[in-house]
C-alpha cells in the first residue's frame, strides 16, 4: 500500500477502468488541458488518445445529451464539470432525458453515464463558483448520487460508478483533492448505496457530507478532550441512501447533527432530518440539528465568506449546544485553513 491523494485516486480509478474497458472515455470542458481538472485527468490523453479523452465546446447541455447518446449506444462516458454551477446548464438533459430514459423504456436500456461535478469553496469564488446543489440531484428519481470523502472511497466508488449501468453523479469537493491516505493499488469497487462510519462515538451522531466529514473529524478531536464522543457517519452515497446505517447510529446516540456543505433550506439535510425523525422519533433526546451554508448567496469578501461557510468550530458549538455544555474557548485550536495550501486565483 502507498499513500495517494484524492485527486490521484480519481485519476487512478479512471486510468485503470480505461485500461480495462475500451468503451470508457472521459470528456468535458478543459479535461485534456494542462490544468486537467485538478490533476484528475493528467496523462490520460497521452495514454489513451484524444478520441477517449477530449475537450468540448462550452455547451454543457448538448454535451450531456452527447454522453447519454454515447451511453445508449454502447460506450461508457465520464463527463466532467469543473464547477457544479456550470452543470446547471446541463440540467435540461439530466432532468428531462437522462433521469427517465431507462424508466420510460421499461427498465431494459442501460445508461452507463458518469457525471463528475466539482464543488466546494475556493478563494473568493463568489456566488457562481461555490454551489453544491446535492438536493437538486437527489430530488430526481433515476440518478445514483455519490459524494466520496476519503481517497480510498473516491477510487472504489468511482470504479463502481463507471461499471454501473445507470447514470451516476459524483460530487467532489475540491479541498478533498489534497487529502492523502493509503489507497490499494489494484482496482476495486466500493459498492454504491452503502454508507460508512468514519469514527465511532457515543454521545452525538454527526452525519457529514463530503468535506464536512473532514471538519467533523477535527471537531471530534476537540470534543474528545472535553470527554465528548461523537460518531461520524458518512453516507457516501446520497441516492440510494443507506438509511439503516444512519438510523442505527442515531438510535444508539439519541442525538443527531447533520453537517452539510450546502444550503440548509430545502437541502439534503432536510431529507435526512425527515427520515431520521420518521424512524427515530421515540428515541431522540433532542431535535435533529442541521448545519450548512448561510441562507444567502455566497459572498466573495473573505470576512463574510468565513461567516457563510460552516466548519469544525460550527460543529463543536452545535454539539455543545445540544448537550447543554458551556461553549468552550477554541482560540487555541488549530482549524483548517486552505490558505496554507492555496492562494488562488482559482
Amino acid at each position: 500500500m502507498r499513500k495517494l491523494d484524492y485527486a490521484g485516486a480519481i485519476r487512478e480509478a479512471t486510468w485503470q477502468e480505461m485500461e480495462r474497458d475500451p468503451r470508457v472515455f472521459v470528456y468535458g470542458i478543459g479535461v485534456p488541458t494542462w490544468s486537467s481538472i485538478f490533476g484528475t485527468t493528467k496523462g490520460l490523453p497521452e495514454k489513451f488518445g484524444k478520441e477517449r479523452c477530449f475537450d468540448t465546446p462550452i455547451s454543457e447541455d448538448a454535451m450531456t445529451g452527447f454522453g447519454l447518446g454515447a451511453a445508449l449506444r454502447g460506450l461508457r462516458p465520464i463527463h466532467i464539470h469543473i464547477r457544479v454551477d456550470f452543470m446547471i446548464l446541463a440540467t435540461n438533459q439530466l432532468f428531462n432525458m437522462v433521469s427517465n430514459y431507462i424508466y420510460s423504456t421499461g427498465g431494459k436500456l442501460k445508461v452507463p453515464l458518469v457525471v463528475r461535478a466539482v464543488i466546494g469553496r475556493g478563494w473568493g469564488q463568489g456566488a457562481q463558483h461555490s454551489k453544491s446543489l446535492f438536493s437538486n440531484f437527489t430530488h430526481i428519481p433515476g440518478f445514483k448520487v455519490i459524494a466520496p470523502t476519503t481517497p480510498s472511497d473516491a477510487k472504489g466508488m468511482l470504479i463502481a460508478a463507471i461499471r454501473d449501468d445507470n447514470p451516476v453523479i459524483c460530487f467532489e469537493h475540491r479541498w478533498l483533492y489534497w487529502a492523502e491516505e493509503d489507497v490499494p493499488e489494484e482496482p476495486y469497487e466500493v459498492p454504491l448505496g452503502v454508507g460508512r462510519i468514519l469514527r465511532p462515538g457515543r454521545d452525538v451522531t454527526v452525519v457529514g457530507l463530503s468535506w464536512m466529514n473532514v471538519e467533523a473529524r477535527l471537531a471530534a478531536e476537540i470534543l474528545q478532550k472535553r470527554g465528548v464522543s461523537i460518531e461520524i457517519v458518512d453516507p457516501r452515497t446520497l441516492a440510494p441512501l443507506d438509511e439503516d446505517l444512519i438510523v442505527d447510529s442515531v438510535k444508539r446516540t439519541g442525538r443527531c447533527i447533520i453537517a452539510d456543505c450546502d444550503w440548509v433550506n430545502s437541502g439534503f439535510g432536510a431529507e435526512l432530518s425527515a427520515r431520521i425523525n420518521e424512524r427515530c422519533f421515540g428515541v431522540l433526546k433532542a431535535p435533529v440539528k442541521r448545519i450548512g451554508f448561510a441562507d444567502t448567496p455566497c459572498p466573495t469578501v473573505r470576512e463574510l465568506e468565513n461567516e457563510f461557510y460552516p466548519n469544525a468550530r460550527t460543529i463543536v458549538h452545535a454539539v455543545e449546544d445540544m448537550l447543554g455544555l458551556e461553549a468552550a474557548n477554541l482560540d487555541g485550536e488549530d482549524f483548517f485553513s486552505h490558505e496554507r495550501r492555496f492562494r488562488g486565483p482559482f
Binding site: 445529451g65 452527447f66 451511453a71 449506444r73 454502447g74 431494459k108
Partner: protein, 330 residues
C-alpha cells in the same frame, strides 16, 4: 442544395407507399378510437408530415438510430413498422416497450433503432450526436438521425449540437420537419433567419432544402446526404417543408384557431398530399388499382389486429410503478 435524380425502382416506390400508408392509416385509427378514452396520452399527430420520416428511414435501410420528437408516430412506424408495439404503448399495456410508462411522446424500440422520442423541444438532438460518436467508435455502420421541427431550431441546444457534430466530424443526420409553426406561432415570429439551410451552412455541414412534399424526393435526398456525410465525415442538415394537418396536440383539426387558413393549406398541401401522390405514382408504374387496394387492405387488417391485441393486452400491475427506475438485469 437540391438534387436532380433518376426515377426510383418500382419496388422502392411500393415500399415507400406502404410505409406512408401504414403511418397514415395507423393515425386514422387513433383518430377513430381516441374518443373512447382508452389511449390516455397526449397525441402529437404526424398526419401530413409522414413523408419526411418515411423517406429518411427508408433511405437508411434499417441501419438508423432514430431520435425523434414528441411528434413521433410516423418516425416510429417508418423505422420499425411495428404496430403491435406502437398501439400497446399508446394503450398503456405491458406489451408496449415502456409498458405504458412512455406513451405517445416517449415511444421506443431500441432494438429496432428507434430510441426514446422526447417531449421537450430539441432535447433529442444532442443525444443523436452522442450516438453517432458511439457508432463511429464501435464501427457499427449505423447512422444517427435526429428528427425535429422548426421550433427546435429556436433552441440553443440545436446549435450546440450542430457545432459539436461538425467539430467531431460526426455523420449525424439533422432532419428538420419544417411545418412553419411552433404550436400556432409562425416561424417568422420566432426566427430572424429567412432560410434555415443558409443559417446552418457556416457550421461545416452539408445542408439540403426540399419543398417538394414528395416522399421519393426526400428518400433520394436522404440517400445522397447520408452517403456524403459518411464519406466526408461531416453532419448533414435536411430542411423539409411540410404541413401538419391536425392540431398541435390532439386528433382534431384546428382551423377555428385562426392562425392558418384552411383554403390555403388545402391548396398548397392537402391537394398534393404525399400519400395520394405516391398512390398515383404506383399506378403510373403499372401497379394495378386492385393490387394497390390489396396492399392497403393487408396493412389495414394488420393495424386493426394490432389495435385489437393492444386493447385487450394486460395493464401493468400496480407494483410495476416502482420497477425499472434503474436498469433491470434480464
Amino acid at each position: 442544395m437540391t438534387l436532380a435524380r433518376a426515377p426510383l425502382p418500382k419496388a422502392t416506390s411500393i415500399q415507400l407507399f406502404k410505409s406512408l400508408f401504414l403511418a397514415r392509416r395507423s393515425e386514422e385509427y387513433i383518430v377513430k378510437h381516441y374518443p373512447e378514452n382508452r389511449m390516455r396520452t397526449p397525441m402529437h399527430m404526424s398526419m401530413g408530415q409522414e413523408f419526411v420520416s418515411v423517406g429518411v428511414c427508408a433511405a437508411l435501410e434499417g441501419k438508423a438510430d432514430v431520435f425523434a420528437s414528441y411528434r413521433s408516430h410516423a418516425a416510429f412506424l417508418a423505422q420499425t413498422h411495428d404496430t403491435d408495439l406502437f398501439f400497446s404503448e399508446l394503450y398503456g399495456r405491458t406489451s408496449g416497450t415502456g409498458e405504458g410508462k412512455g406513451g405517445s411522446m416517449h415511444l421506443a424500440a431500441p432494438d429496432q433503432g428507434h430510441m426514446l422520442s422526447s417531449g421537450v423541444v430539441a432535447t433529442q438532438i444532442p443525444v443523436a450526436v452522442g450516438a453517432a460518436f458511439a457508432n463511429r467508435q464501435l464501427a457499427t455502420g449505423r447512422t444517427a438521425v435526429a428528427f425535429f421541427g422548426d421550433g427546435a431550431m429556436d433552441a440553443g441546444v440545436f446549435w450546440e449540437s450542430l457545432n459539436a457534430a461538425a467539430l467531431y466530424r460526426l455523420p449525424v443526420m439533422f432532419v428538420c420537419e419544417d411545418n412553419g409553426y411552433a404550436v400556432d406561432t409562425p416561424r417568422e415570429s420566432r426566427q430572424v433567419a429567412t432560410s434555415l439551410t443558409e443559417a446552418v451552412k457556416p457550421f461545416g455541414c452539408d445542408s439540403y432544402d426540399d419543398d417538394s412534399g414528395d416522399v421519393e424526393s426526400v428518400y433520394a435526398l436522404a440517400r445522397a446526404a447520408v452517403e456524403k456525410a459518411h464519406r466526408d465525415r461531416r453532419p448533414a442538415f435536411l430542411s423539409i417543408k411540410c404541413c401538419r394537418y391536425l392540431e398541435h396536440v390532439g386528433t382534431s383539426e384546428d382551423w377555428h384557431w385562426g392562425y392558418r387558413d384552411k383554403a390555403v393549406v388545402e391548396r398548397e398541401w392537402i391537394s398534393r398530399d404525399a400519400l395520394v401522390q405516391q398512390r398515383a405514382r404506383l399506378l403510373s408504374h403499372q401497379v394495378s388499382e386492385s393490387a394497390i387496394a390489396a396492399m392497403e387492405d393487408e396493412i389495414d387488417k394488420a393495424i386493426r389486429a394490432s389495435v385489437a391485441r393492444a386493447a385487450e393486452a394486460p395493464i401493468p400491475a400496480p407494483e410495476r410503478l416502482y420497477a425499472g427506475v434503474f436498469h433491470e438485469k434480464a
